[in-house]
Amino acid sequence: MIPIRCISCGKPVSAYFDEYQDRIAKGEDPKAVLDDLGITRYCCRRMLITHVETW
């Protein structure tokens, strides 16, 4: 499970996780999706980019 908030700044990034995953699966560019979702800081961006859903 993805952490609820960004570990560094505390932005609730998990709220955008499902939308991010869906759009990536459809072949959109991760950079464009993150910009569109309003996730601007690199601390928050790495939360979504590097997360691996295991169980």
Binding site: C9, A15, F17, R41
Partner: protein, 261 residues
């Protein structure tokens, strides 16, 4: 003291303060982060948890959920230490329940609050996963608190200020345009053989332009009574309410000191 709003949207407020003391601006910043009350889940009673997630991990995740706590929503609610009930009463806490049977992903929207206004800000936060025939059943109590006690009660995520940058060119400037090319933030732009300052508030005073300038004619400094202040919240309280509440808290503190002295 002058104020000017530079940028504002739902969760973010950027404004300029002119003619303020650094100690004052810093006090406001610290109070915004640490002493503006918000609501967060503080206690969880787990009746049943069949999922692979440990109880304490689930409770921690619930605690971190941003919960709507703007002035209208928290009207009438008192801080737990000011309430004389001893445990949980409608005056100091809001009960929430979660009942779900798998297979499914449990989201923050599945959390049912007794109070219509006080509920998670985002509906799409995944809390846990349930497999076939697994069940989760819990009750949680949300209470008011301040960031000093636990970071889950912090209303702000980014709350910072910087000095207002000042950028001037000396008379010997040859308008070569090297500085504009070196600026990583697009503050300087080279148009029609002239260097123009586009958005000074975006300048981070990195001095890239100064180093790129062969004649070193660029002066970079700051005005120490002028600040750019940024407040970004997690969505639980609008940023302007955070600022107003912080000012109230500061003025209460000042009143207390006057009383003592």
């Amino acid at each position: 003291m002058e104020f000017e709003v530079i940028n504002k949207n739902k969760d973010e407020l950027v404004f300029m303060v002119n003619g303020a003391d650094i100690a004052f601006v810093n006090a406001i910043r610290r109070i915004c982060m640490m002493e503006v009350p918000t609501i967060a889940i503080d206690d969880v009673n787990l009746v049943k948890n069949d999922s692979a997630m440990f109880n304490e991990v689930l409770a921690h995740r619930l605690g971190l959920l941003p919960i709507a706590s703007d002035i209208k929503s928290i009207e009438g609610l008192v801080m737990p230490d000011e309430c004389d009930c001893g445990e949980y009463c409608p005056q100091c806490s809001v009960p929430m329940t979660l009942n779900k049977k798998g297979p499914c992903v449990v989201y923050s929207k599945d959390l049912e609050s007794l109070d219509q206004k006080i509920k998670p800000v985002y509906d799409t936060i995944p809390l846990l996963k349930l497999k076939e025939d697994e069940e989760v059943c819990l009750e949680a109590y949300a209470q008011l608190g301040i960031g000093k006690e636990h970071a889950k009660w912090q209303p702000t995520i980014v709350c910072a200020y910087k000095f207002y940058p000042e950028l001037t060119f000396g008379d010997e400037c040859t308008s070569c345009g090297n500085c504009a090319g070196a600026c990583p933030r697009g503050v300087l732009q080279y148009n029609n053989n002239k260097v123009e300052i586009m958005d000074l508030t975006n300048c981070s005073m990195c001095k890239s332009c100064y180093r790129a300038c062969d004649d070193r004619v660029i002066n970079i400094s700051f005005d120490d009574s002028k600040f750019i202040f940024k407040i970004e919240t997690d969505g639980s309280i609008p940023p302007e309410e955070v600022l107003l509440k912080a000012c109230d808290v500061l003025s209460d503190k000042a009143d207390k000191i006057i009383e003592i002295v």
